[in-house]
Structures are given as C-alpha cells and as structure tokens.
Amino acid sequence: MTALLRTPATAVWVVLITATAMSWTLGTQHGTHDHKLASVIILLIAFIKVRLVGMYFMELREAPNVLRGLFEAYCLIVCTLLVTVFLWL
C-alpha cells in the first residue's frame, strides 16, 4: 500500500484538499472583504483543480497530445468564459 501511495497523484491530492480549504475560507469570509475578487480567485482555483484531476487522476498527461490538448483547451476556455461572464455581465 505504501508503494502505491508513492505517486505524483498523492501529492496532487494534498494540493486539491488544500485548495478546497482555501476556496472554502475565501467563500465563507464575512465582513467588508472584496467578494468579487475572492470569487474570481475561487473560480481560478476551481479550474486549476479540474486540470490537476484531468492530468494526474485521469492520466491525461500521458495521453496523446490531441486528447490532452482538448482537455487543456476546455479548462482554459471555460474558465475564461465564466470569469468574463461573472465580471462583465
């Protein structure tokens, strides 16, 4: 079992848990904080997490360039779209 845990995916999992805690803290802060900025950071963190799940859990970093590229493009385009709609609509 210890040998199985020796994989980059385990380190990525720790990053994902930490990032979740960061987003939760940003999203539950009360008071006069800048909610808009916090929300943009929360969206960016979400798509960094999505990319990490794709690359390391779904093993797309070892996949053919076309498939990996489609996924990377998805992360970039959807993240940009959501941040744009959130800020400018």
Partner: protein, 197 residues
C-alpha cells in the same frame, strides 16, 4: 473460445488513451454540456444578483465542502485501485474500490440531508430562479454520481477476475475516468453555486 488474456498495459510507455475512445467522446461531451449550464447559471445570476446572493446565503456551505472532500478521497482511492490492478494486487484493488463506493454513498447521504434542509425551509425549485438552478444542477450531478456507483460496482466485479482481456482493461481505466469526471464536475459546481457571489 476463451478471451485473450493480457498483462496490464504498462503505466508509462507510449502515449495512450486512458480507457476507450468512446468513453472520452462521452466525457468531453458531458463536461461541455455542463460548461453550458455553468455559464447559464452565471448569466441568470447577473440578471438577479441580489436574489441569487440572498438565496445562496441560505445554503449550507460546510456540507458542500464536506462532500468535496468525500469525492476527492474517493478519486484518490480509484487512482490507487488502478495502480493496484497494474501490479496484480486484486484484493487491495477491491478494497480501494469499495472505499470509493462508500465515499459516494456518503456524498448521497449528505446531499439528502442538504436537500431536506432546503425543503424544510420551503426553499424549493419553484421558490425562485436560484433554487431552481441549485436543484437542477446538483440533481444532474447526483444522477451522474449514481451512475458512477454502478460503474464502480462493475470495476469491483472486474477486480475479482483472475485475468482481464484488453477490452476489460480499457473498461476498467475508462470507468475510473468516469468516476473522476463526477469529481471534476463537483469541483466546479460547489464553488460556483455555493461560494461565488
């Protein structure tokens, strides 16, 4: 004629598609459909910002975060199960898949509790546009998760077999990717609906 048995594909050899191509057409298609939903949610929010922010404040953010942890743990267990299968640790793989399955069940239990809180407070899909989108989007995700539990059951059955055919290996890896997709969609839905304001 018995199926051709193969050794597990090498983890890092030539670049290869994890699972079958068909699974990836489905996964990419599905996450694109959800991308439309994510965008639609923010467009609707932009039209009723105060209503959405007020309604969002009634959601239990802690339960959403707990469910994120359940799905992240389950995804790691599935990653480890795939690795265990590659080194022929079938019993360990079965236990890991069972652990992932139980995390999925825990997600459903938390979700049912969360929905019952909303319904008890008379915050239902017909209350306003926010609750409609909250129930539809989280409900669609829950539907995917329940299908995912069926997929994990199939992986558990495969992990009990002595040898897997090439096709069965592809199904195993593709099934694992489907479960990760369920995790991935929640990683956007939770912050979008519960946190972004």
């Amino acid at each position: 004629m018995p199926p051709t048995t193969t050794r597990p594909p090498p983890a890092v050899a030539a670049k290869k598609i994890p699972g079958e191509e068909g699974v990836w057409i489905f996964i990419l298609g599905d996450i694109c459909v959800f991308a439309v939903f994510f965008t639609y949610y923010l467009v609707q929010r932009s039209k009723h910002v105060d209503l959405f922010d007020l309604s969002q404040s009634t959601l239990n953010k802690n339960l959403g975060a707990v469910n994120t942890v359940f799905l992240l743990v389950s995804s790691l267990l599935v990653v480890l199960a795939v690795r265990a299968m590659r080194v022929a640790e079938r019993t360990l793989a079965q236990r890991l898949i069972l652990g992932a399955f139980l995390c999925g069940v825990a997600f459903i239990i938390v979700k049912v509790f969360e929905y019952s809180e909303r319904i008890a407070a008379h915050q239902i899909p017909t209350t306003n546009g926010f609750y409609l989108l909250y129930f539809v989007l989280t409900g669609l995700h829950l539907f995917h998760l329940i299908i995912g539990l069926g997929v994990l059951t199939a992986l558990f059955i495969l992990a009990r077999k002595a040898d897997l055919s090439e096709h069965q290996w592809a199904f195993f890896e593709g099934g694992a990717c489907f479960w990760h997709m369920v995790d991935l969609l929640w990683l956007v839905l939770f912050p979008l609906i519960f946190l972004v304001r």
